[in-house]
């Protein structure tokens, strides 16, 4: 008998399925709605779009509620569904805020920093960080975005992205290195006026 595909593709053979009680939709919403929202927010950077993605995520779960007993790790499965849903939403273009990749150049960053006061406000720094992250290649950006969600560690990110945990650590390190380099340039620019 062939296993039916469900979102997240975290389906195991019946031999490895736990005998634990199958979670209900209400339980999943109560346990993971915040995590799902934050994952969606890390990608979409907008409250409204993140909430839409969270709704869509649970609708996808509802469609496959009959297969919930096949899920081994509910948390990572929910995280993967949320991640794929948010990515689909961002790729579809139906998002309120879209990243402008052309503005992520160093020149734009220097302008932003020059316009700021000596003590940059938190909002401006967050905007700077968002632009820096959006300028990263996808293979570095995705694990970094997921790592910013406090509920997820590197092994869970590895399971969500279907890559080895070592790759996740490596990519996170490289992503941080690139961000630091860009930050250094921005800070140098501020120093020299």
């Amino acid at each position: 008998m062939s296993e039916q595909a469900i979102p997240g593709e975290m389906v195991l053979n019946s031999a490895t399925i736990r005998e634990a009680a199958v979670p209900t939709i209400e339980t999943l919403v109560a346990s993971y709605s915040l995590m799902v929202f934050r994952i969606a927010y890390s990608i979409l950077r907008n409250h409204h779009d993140a909430e839409d993605a969270a709704q869509e995520c649970f609708l996808r779960v509802l469609k496959h509620k009959d297969h919930l007993h096949k899920v081994r790790n509910v948390k990572t499965w929910m995280a993967r569904v949320a991640w794929t849903t948010a990515l689909d939403k961002r790729r579809s273009g139906h998002v309120t805020v879209s990243f402008d990749e052309e503005q992520t150049g160093i020149g734009a960053l220097l302008d932003l920093s020059a316009a700021a006061d000596d003590q940059l406000e938190s909002a401006q720094m967050q905007q700077l960080l968002r632009r820096l992250i959006s300028g990263l290649p996808e293979e570095l950006r995705f694990p970094l975005e997921l790592s910013t969600v406090q509920e997820l560690n590197s092994s869970e990110i590895a399971e969500i992205m279907k890559i080895p945990e070592g790759s996740v650590r490596n990519r996170l390190f490289r992503a941080r290195q690139q961000l630091k380099e860009k930050f250094a340039i921005v800070l140098e620019g501020r120093k020299h006026g």
Binding site: I25, E26, V29, A30, S33, L34, F37, R38, I39, Y41, S42, H47, A50, E51, A54, Q55, F58, L59, L62, S122, M125, Q126, L129, R130, I133, L144, E145, S147, T148, V149, Q150, R176, L179, K180, F183, A184, L187
Partner: protein, 188 residues
Amino acid sequence: MADLKKNKQIDEILDSLLAQYSDVEPRSGLEQRILANLGDRARNETVPWWSVKWLWAGAAVAAVIIVAAVLTAGRRHVIAPIPSVVQTQQHAPQQPKVQRSLPTTASTVRHSRKPSVVAGPQNTTLALSQRPAIFPTPTPLSEQERLLFTYLSNTPQEVVVAQLQRTDQKEADAFWADHEPWSITRAH
């Protein structure tokens, strides 16, 4: 030394910024909104798949029954009215006039036949009750025919035959008189 300090400073800034990057709280009542949305969706999908399947099957069966009924009724209508059309045309001399006055297109011909088909059973009964015993139907004699008939019935047969022979002889003489060349040839 300064580089290390600077590097550490950047690390701290980056850590703090990344910690806040997705550390956001949704608007209050997110769970309730999600559950309400799921409830709405579930209510919309309450019609189970098998009931939809049965609906389709029922519709298909009904369609088959309707088609069969229409075909059967159509066959009855086609067979029954044929004699009635013939009979009603014989006993109702007005009907052919109406048909002749109409333009002879296919649509009008079909249309003109329709009333007789629809009123089939009544016309058939009427036509069968008035059906003549002799074919073709006898028609009344004209004035000349009636005079001739009276003359023949009152005159003896020998007189009629003699008169016919005399008439024939007269017609033959008149014929030969009109044909001059023949009379010349005979004279020679």
